[in-house]
């Protein structure tokens, strides 16, 4: 079909618009007020969304993938990397999610950051936040719209950078607003962990290039059919390392919980809805490679499933409202990776989309809760309600301080409930449909994955129930919770949109209709999953049981202030493990980080400095040279050479004494000597 009348040539603007917004804020933002800065950022993101919609319209007509080349990038010999955008149903789906959710979160962030910068007493930093956030949109767009693995990689690292910048946004504080390196540590951890993943990505790219002479999607997928199995296995494993880094899978998930140090809109956008799903996108994109290797699929699905369960267990033991959501995100990402790993690409993408809706909703609502608590805290400080222990640092995100907030923050409460139910996967919310599709596929392909995921689903419903009971029900466990205040409309309005999507997002891929599946089928070969009533029923029952259990534990007899978690008594040391994230961070620190630091110190101090620089240089080279010169000076020079020279010197001195008389200082006698020379020379020339 003709592409001339369609809007494909506009696709670069999906990146240009955010860049323009970013540059505007960077240059003239200083002169604007907060609303102006926010407006620029929101317009940039919204403009990208409009472009994405145009692309969706175009690809809806054209169906075939379209590449739009902008410029050369690196061309050496066979290596030909370009800045080329690719429009197909998969990339357009991602564009829509990223720019759509991104725009909503931009709007929310205007309200959120206005208050956040005031709590931190640093209002100029407002502008910086939107520069970073728009930078993220830019990079994410590059990631999803690239036509080759290398352009994808540019976005891949770029979102890592924006994530670093935004996690460390309050780089001079810790999460509680005390001066500290804690936030910047979290940022650094995220970046470095991602780099480990990028290492895998790079290896995959190198293998592709040397095996297939290209990293373009089309070329690679065309060539991969003839590739040897070991090549495919290594490529997929390497890619999986990258996925583990970006999408927070075992063993590289550790950065994501710490990433909650960033402001809440960041957690929602980057660390829940979009960036972390890049790994899922990557596997889906590489579907032609993954489907060729059963081993790769098995490994990927297993990693995903294990991550889902493992993170869910930790989520149960957390007290910080955002930490619970963070581990929940890891767990849900595990669901997606498991799905795409076992070849259920449509299901994975479906869950990616619905998860973007409801997890963004949950995070933003959690942000609203935290700000509500902050406001309460502020209110107390201002009105001199010096409660007991008020001087000590107050953690507005600690669920143990909350309770009964549904009265203070009714809008947020209802929005949060929608998100919770969607995440728990109850009919007919979006989460139900997508999670169910994954479970149904797993049931057929990898049964062990199905069982693990079901367990994870059970825990999901449980910890979400626990959270809701603790936060919104019961009685306030801290004075601050009494004074919590509802958030303004600019924050709640985007939440309502997201709540709507969480409610009805399931309509995207209803069983029987398979809208999303057939849409994606234009890009990747997938078969629509069967709706399995048995699986759906089981999972619903599991979720309900879990919620009931949590009701028993946390609602029937609400938690009192200072009371330990009831699970602690029941589970004992297991719960201690959950509380402490199974000591994985400590393990990494002990096994890897400390060892590397020691090694570096050893190399730097002992090997390089003491041994090589000081000892070898000074004691061996320099001292050896000195010894040699002394040896030459004393026995050789004084003993032998000197005697020779003494004789020489004596004779020279003798003749010099005589010759000295010639040097009498009288100009005329010098002139006479010159004359003598002249006569001699001329005489010689003539006689010769």
């Amino acid at each position: 079909m003709e592409t001339a009348n369609l809007y494909f040539n506009l696709v670069p603007w999906i990146v240009y618009f955010p860049i323009i917004g970013l540059l505007l804020n960077l240059t003239i933002g200083k002169k604007l007020n907060e609303n102006g800065i926010g407006a620029i950022a929101v317009s940039a993101s919204a403009a990208a969304f409009v472009v994405a919609v145009l692309q969706a319209y175009s690809i809806g007509i054209h169906h075939e993938a379209v590449s739009v080349k902008v410029a050369d990038w690196i061309h050496i010999g066979e290596l030909a990397l370009d800045w080329t955008f690719r429009v197909d149903t998969l990339s357009v789906t991602m564009m829509l999610v990223v720019s759509g959710v991104g725009t909503l979160i931009h709007i929310y962030a205007i309200g959120y950051m206005k208050e956040d910068v005031r709590f931190h007493h640093d209002e100029p930093r407002f502008r910086r936040f939107f520069v970073f956030l728009t930078l993220f949109i830019t990079m994410m767009m590059v990631l999803v719209s690239g036509d080759s693995y290398m352009m994808l990689f540019v976005g891949w690292e770029g979102v890592g950078l924006s994530s670093f910048l935004l996690i460390g946004f309050w780089y001079d504080f810790d999460t509680l607003g005390r001066p500290s390196f804690a936030n910047s540590n979290a940022a650094k951890k995220a970046f470095i962990t991602n780099r480990v993943g990028d290492f895998g990505f790079l290896m995959a790219a190198f293998l592709m290039f040397w095996q297939f002479q290209s990293t373009n999607f089309d070329n690679v997928f065309a060539a991969v059919a003839h590739a040897e199995p070991w090549v495919i296995l290594w490529i997929t494993i390497s890619l999986l390392v990258g996925v583990a880094g970006k999408s927070a899978q075992i063993p590289l998930y550790i950065w994501l919980p710490d990433a909650m140090a960033g402001p809440t809109p960041v957690s929602a956008l980057i660390h829940a809805a979009t960036m972390v799903t890049a790994g899922v996108y990557l596997v889906t994109r590489s579907a032609p490679i993954f489907t060729l290797s059963h081993d790769a699929q098995y490994i990927t699905a297993t990693v995903g499933a294990l991550t889902a369960l493992f993170a869910a267990t930790i989520a149960v033991g957390q007290y910080d409202i955002k930490k619970v959501l963070a581990y929940s995100t890891i767990s849900q990402l595990g669901f997606m990776v498991a799905a795409v790993g076992m070849g259920a690409f449509a299901a994975g993408m479906f869950h990616l989309i619905t998860h973007a809706f409801f997890k963004a909703l949950l995070f933003l609502s959690a942000g609203s809760v935290i700000l509500g608590m902050e406001r309460g805290h502020h209110h107390l400080a201002h009105h001199g309600h010096h409660g007991k222990g008020h001087e000590e640092v107050f953690d507005p995100g600690d669920m143990r301080n909350m309770g009964g907030l549904r009265k203070q923050m009714p809008v947020t409460f209802w929005l949060y409930m929608i998100g919770t139910v969607a995440l728990a996967g109850l009919f007919p919310f979006a989460g139900f449909w997508s999670k169910d599709e994954i479970l149904a596929d797993a049931f057929h392909v990898f049964p062990h994955v199905y069982w693990v995921l079901s367990a994870a689903a059970f825990l999901t419903a449980f910890y979400m129930g626990r959270q809701v009971w603790m936060v919104f029900f019961g009685k306030p466990r801290h004075e601050v919770a009494h004074h919590a205040e509802e958030s303004p409309l600019i924050m709640t309005a985007p939440l309502m949109v997201l709540a709507f999507l969480s409610l009805f997002g399931g309509a995207l891929n209803l069983p029987g209709l398979h809208t999303l599946t057939s849409w994606l089928e234009h890009t990747i070969a997938i078969h629509p999953g069967e709706f399995n009533v048995q699986v759906a029923l089981v999972s619903t029952v599991i979720a309900l049981v879990a919620i009931f259990l949590s009701w028993l534990l946390y609602m029937k007899k609400p938690l009192e202030a200072g009371q330990p978690d009831p699970l602690k008594k029941m589970l004992g040391f297991v719960y201690t493990g959950m509380e402490n994230k199974w000591f994985v961070d400590e393990g990494y620190k002990f096994l890897i980080i400390d060892r590397y630091t020691d090694l570096a110190k050893f190399f730097a101090q002992v090997v390089d400095w003491d041994f090589w620089h000081e000892w070898f240089h000074n004691s061996v080279i320099a001292a050896g040279f000195v010894w040699l010169t002394k040896f030459l000076a004393n026995p050789i020079d004084l003993g032998i050479v000197d005697n020779i020279s003494r004789v020489l010197a004596g004779s020279i001195q003798y003749s010099a004494n005589n010759l000295r008389k010639l040097q009498n200082g009288f100009v005329r006698s010098y002139a006479l000597s010159v004359m003598l020379g002249v006569v001699a020379i001329i005489g010689y020339l003539l006689i010769k």
């Binding site: 005329r668 006479l672 004359m675 003598l676 002249v678 006569v679 001329i682 005489g683 003539l686």
Partner: protein, 171 residues
């Protein structure tokens, strides 16, 4: 003997006489004046050799500038009557050597150089200042410019050397 030759010998005699006069005169002023005369004679030789430009330069530069400078300095220093004892006992090596040199030079001039007659008439090609100036400003441009630089340096040097040291005189 042509008139030309007679002129040559007369002038040569004057030149040698003035040279020796300069050599032996006790008064430096006289020495300088002898030398002026000598230079003038040489200038006439230049004319005879068809080099009017050089002859005029000789008169202006040597006669006009250099010798005036000499007289200036002599009078400035009041050095006209400095005794110039010439003791032949001490001077004999110098005289012997010079005579030897003179002998060598005359022998060279007589035997090593072809006998070519030089007429006092000059052709336009070698006499007119114009072609001389042309080659001075084309072929020899760089040395010419360097000479100007040399003169400049000499001037600065002379000024620096004769400048009164204020600190020294203040003592």
């Amino acid at each position: 003997m042509t008139g030309e030759l007679i002129l040559f010998f007369v002038l040569a005699l004057i030149a040698v006489t003035t040279a020796v006069g300069m050599l032996v005169s006790k008064n430096a002023v006289y020495a300088a004046l002898y030398l002026v005369l000598n230079f003038a004679t040489v200038a006439i030789f230049y004319l005879m050799l068809g080099s009017p430009f050089i002859a005029l330069s000789q008169v202006t530069v040597y006669g006009g500038a250099i010798m005036v400078l000499f007289l200036f300095v002599i009078m400035l220093l009041g050095a006209e009557n400095i005794q110039a004892e010439i003791t032949l006992q001490k001077a004999w090596p110098a005289i012997v050597l010079t005579v030897a040199l003179l002998g060598l030079m005359i022998w060279m001039a007589a035997t090593q150089v072809p006998v070519v007659g030089l007429s006092a008439e000059s052709t336009l090609a070698d006499a007119a200042p114009q072609p001389l100036a042309f080659s001075l400003f084309s072929t020899y441009l760089l040395p010419f410019e360097i000479t100007s630089f040399l003169l400049l340096v000499a001037m600065i040097g002379a000024i620096v050397l004769t400048k009164q040291d204020k600190k020294g005189s203040g003592k």
